[in-house]
């Protein structure tokens, strides 16, 4: 436990110090390089905006209309038949779409069922082992202007599905 919190506390400061010391040692004009690199950050943030607005409005409309809840209800009986608890269904569906919404559901599940319960552990594992595919796709491809995504979305969502199934199997066997 202490090692984990120590690593997360020290990782970034140590990395910053290391980059600066190494750069100075290699006679890089550190401050000027920093400013040059930083300028790109502003351009990037601005170029992401339209992609994020488009995607997040669509997700917000879909959720607010109640369509997502109905979809969850449809899928529930089938999933329960193969031993997947219904409580986890909304999380599994939202995780690829919205990181903050998923985090909200995860803390809610942990709060209601307890952090060491089966559902609590499953929610935590799911949250930790998957990522917000739509967000990553939108931001990464949006920033560099990729319009034709090819198989990227299919691959990403299939990988998410595998992660969710694996998490369920692993937690069932370990707890």
């Amino acid at each position: 436990m202490e090692i984990v919190s120590a690593i997360s506390l020290w990782f970034i400061p140590v990395m910053i110090a290391f980059i600066l010391i190494y750069g100075t040692y290699k006679k890089v004009p550190t401050y000027e390089s920093f400013v040059e690199g930083g300028k790109e950050g502003i351009k990037m943030a601005v170029s992401i905006m339209p992609f994020l607005v488009g995607m997040m409005v669509a997700i917000a409309v879909f959720r607010a209309s109640g369509a997502l809840d109905v979809m969850v209800d449809w899928l529930r009986p089938g999933l329960e038949m193969v031993g997947i608890p219904a409580e986890i269904v909304p999380l599994a569906l939202i995780r690829p779409i919205s990181g903050t919404a998923a985090l909200g559901i995860t803390s809610d599940l942990i709060g209601v069922h307890g952090p060491d319960s089966f559902i609590g552990t499953l929610a935590a594992t799911l949250q930790g082992s998957t990522d917000t595919t739509f967000y990553v796709l939108t931001v990464y491809f949006g920033a560099v202007g990729i319009k034709k995504m090819g198989d990227a979305l299919k691959v990403g969502l299939l990988a998410d599905a595998v992660a969710i199934i694996t998490a369920i199997i692993v937690v069932t066997f370990m707890f």
């Binding site: 750069g23 409005v57 917000a60 607010a64 209309s65 109905v70 609590g120 198989d151 990988a159 595998v162």
Partner: protein, 195 residues
């Protein structure tokens, strides 16, 4: 495909709101979603500027290319199209390392930078290349060593042992990362067969 998903999500939402009487919520969602997106991008500026500044120093000093030589055998297997001394390698690696430690905020700028380099390798086409799709697959499978956020939540709710989650997460993340790579390969070979 994204075009269809986008339109379908909005249309289903609107249609559902008509039937279900949730039009007021949907009206609000349109504006809130847009606002949230801009807030998010503005919030990203500070992180993007700082980390891209730091990474530029790492690039200029040769640190990034050193890092890529270290992991060359592994990464060149995953990304056969990327020359081993190309800056894209360094960014891909730093992004993966940041993700492993749950540093999502630091990982995003590095990921975007990696995409930019990959696009250049692909002659600046606005079409996703093989390496880009592989990189994305690895990212969405999100190899996590320490799920910091989740551990924090568990601590908040007085878990008997908050770090219990590290074991199962590691197994799940490893299996799904391997699966992501296999799925990516499968789609690649299907594409190349079609020509």
């Amino acid at each position: 495909m994204v075009n269809y998903i986008w339109v379908v999500m909005i249309l289903i939402g609107l249609g559902f709101a008509m039937v279900n009487g949730t039009m007021a919520e949907v009206n609000e969602a349109v504006f809130n979603g847009a606002k949230e997106a801009i807030t998010l991008s503005i919030g990203l500026i500070s992180i993007l500027v700082f980390w891209l500044g730091m990474m530029r120093i790492a690039e200029d000093s040769g640190l990034l290319s050193k890092l890529s030589t270290l992991f060359k055998p592994l990464i060149s297997k995953l990304f056969p199209e990327v020359p081993s001394n190309h800056p894209a390698m360094g960014y891909i690696l730093s992004n993966m390392i940041a993700n492993m430690f749950g540093l999502g905020n630091a990982a995003t700028p590095l990921g975007i930078k990696a995409m930019e380099e990959l696009k250049e390798l692909n002659d600046g086409k606005n079409e996703a290349s093989r390496s880009m799709i592989t990189f994305l697959a690895i990212n969405t499978a999100s190899i996590t060593l320490i799920p910091t956020t989740v551990i924090a939540i568990r601590m908040n709710y007085n878990s008997a042992n908050p770090t219990d989650i590290v074991g199962p997460t590691l197994v799940a993340t490893a299996v799904s990362a391997v699966a992501a790579i296999l799925i990516d390969r499968f789609f690649y070979y299907r594409r190349s067969k079609k020509g």
